[in-house]
Symmetry: C2
Subunit: 133 residues, 2 copies
């Protein structure tokens, strides 16, 4: 971890416009703190090796889920500004935001945002392990 100063999330969010293209704000041990702007639908995917933490900084985020406890039936949680949620590892999920949202995520460095999603991704999505601010 290289020493660096405080980062304003508002300033960081104002520095890019790309949707579904997480920026790495800082690192904590071998984890990234990533922020992203999102609107519309992401792809269904799971991360077999890690939980995924979401904090909504602005707007509203819906996460469709296929939880093992529900025998894989589709359900959804809706997160508003200031809400946090953890998608358990191995859980198929699809984030979306009808009106747009800004989110913060905490996940192991190197985690691919599309997880185990196979094949192409729609043009509005960047398949990435996060890029620098």
């Amino acid at each position: 971890m290289t020493f660096s100063g405080p980062v304003s999330l508002d300033t960081a969010l104002a520095s890019f416009d790309d949707l579904w293209s997480p920026r790495i704000v800082t690192r904590v041990n071998d984890y990234d703190v990533r922020i992203a702007k999102v609107a519309g639908e992401f792809v269904w995917h799971a991360h077999d090796d890690t939980d995924e933490f979401f904090l909504v900084l602005d707007g509203e985020l819906t996460i469709a889920l296929r939880l093992p406890a529900d025998d894989g039936r589709e359900s959804a949680v809706t997160l508003r500004r200031g809400d946090v949620y953890v998608v358990p590892r191995g859980t198929e999920h699809r984030p979306s935001s009808a009106e747009g949202a800004s989110i913060l995520m905490f996940e192991p460095t190197g985690t691919v945002n599309t997880g185990d999603h196979e094949g192409d991704v729609p043009e509005h999505i960047t398949r990435t392990t996060g890029s620098a601010l």
Copy 2:
């Protein structure tokens, strides 16, 4: 990770008044997401085995630091609402907040908030690995 629903940080913060006594909001793999209300001064300490992530949810937090890059001379960063900062592992630091603040932290489960601080802690501080909401 047990499945549980979204958590509103505002609701979580409204559920306790203790200062310098982190509550565990959720877990991400073997990390805790903790929130705390703080006011006045914490104790100088370091975490030799982990970086420590701070996000200011409300108010203003000052972190006094003795950075190796500064030959251990004391410096400080001030974080306002929406600012994030990572104290690198092994770095002596002392959080404080003259007017009070609410903060969110990521750190490995089991991390003691007072780190390597030896001896007693002042009565306004709880030495803890975080408690349940």
